[in-house]
Amino acid sequence: MADRTRRGPRGTFRAWRARRPFWGGLLLALGGGEILLTEKASLKVVMHIGMQGLAGYLLPGLMALLGLLLLFNPAQRLFYSITGVLLSLGTWLTSNLGGFFIGLLLGVVGSCLAFGWLPDQEPRTGRRKRRRRARALAAREAEGTTA
């Protein structure tokens, strides 16, 4: 386990990552980016088509934005992740079947990860460790009942 006294750039990044839904935000932003990559029609064409064509860019653009917001303003993560999942699903209709499904998948997974993220959790313990602790607890309880 990393202790807080170590202050390398990696340690700093680790600590920074620990305070926000890092993977959720990253995946959502990447999903939005991927969808934008599959479109990249010139803006002139989009302007010509009007609102309907613009939606194809608006949705993935917002997805990328929400992903970044999740990283830099994690306090509002519930709103961001719920909006993010709705936008991700919406891109199926507006933007090349959600960037041929890949971007949609990234966006939905990212939003779910961000939604399920909670700050300030117990450190992860291995299964073996957990089992051992449970056994110890059971043993102690058994002792208590016999005594």
């Binding site: 620990a18 064409v45 064509g53 306090a75 079947l97 399920g116 450190p123």
Partner: protein
């Protein structure tokens, strides 16, 4: 409950006050533990993941039944569209130049510009549509309209480099200025040759496209797959 005796942690409180509302953090009054990090709780994530999956599946099914239209906007990579039959009303065609994104890897020796024929069809019905994008090694293939339901598209605008098929036009006007077209919703630049027709019927359509924009497609019998062979 949880205690790992090997670490004497000083920073037990999160450093960033903005990281989440404290009410949601379970206030476990455990003994000094290791580093406390934010984590994804699986059950919480599932609360959103399950409905999202259901909605995504629903969208896919509705699209495959042809009940929902989907929009395409692709450009910069060449892709092939084939169809057994195309019937359209409101047809326009004119020449133009497509610009690729700067430093596009697809540019090659073309200087990032492709000479294209822009075709716009206001309402089109296609049977046995197949669309494939070459991803280098493998092709992303979308097929639809193989069964009874036909693919319908509205305001379909494609920029093609190659187009072939057996075509029949009704009330065709050839040699208009591209900026004066009226049949579909696209207009070309001034001084460019163009043609338009009331209706169009093309058998064995085959197009190599650089861009499709704002075509709202209804794709009954949609199938999305990766395949070795293109359309």
């Amino acid at each position: 409950m949880a205690s790992s005796p090997d670490v004497s942690s000083t920073g037990n409180t999160p450093e960033n006050p903005g990281s989440g509302s404290p009410s949601e953090a379970p206030s476990s009054t455990a003994a000094p533990t290791g580093e406390r990090r934010g984590r994804v709780r699986a059950r919480r994530a599932a609360v959103m993941a399950v409905p999202a999956t259901i909605v995504a599946a629903g969208l896919a099914v509705l699209t495959a039944q042809g009940a929902l239209g989907v929009q395409f906007a692709i450009s910069g990579m060449p892709f092939t569209v084939t169809a057994d039959e195309l019937n359209g009303t409101g047809f326009e065609q004119f020449g133009g130049l497509d610009n690729m994104a700067d430093d596009s890897p697809n540019a090659g020796d073309t200087g990032g510009q492709v000479l294209v024929v822009t075709s716009a069809i206001k309402k089109a019905t296609l049977s046995k549509l197949c669309q494939s994008v070459d991803l280098g090694g493998t092709n992303l293939r979308i097929t639809a309209g193989n069964g009874a339901g036909k693919v319908t598209a509205s305001d379909l605008t494609t920029d093609s480099t190659e187009m072939s098929g057996d075509a029949a036009f009704n009330n065709i006007e050839i040699g208009n200025d591209a900026s004066t077209l009226t049949e579909a919703n696209a207009k070309g630049p001034k001084g460019v040759f163009s043609q338009q027709a009331d209706t169009v019927h093309i058998n064995h359509l085959r197009q190599t496209n650089y861009a499709t924009t704002a075509g709202v497609f209804k794709l009954p019998g949609l199938k999305l797959s990766f395949s070795d062979k293109a359309c």
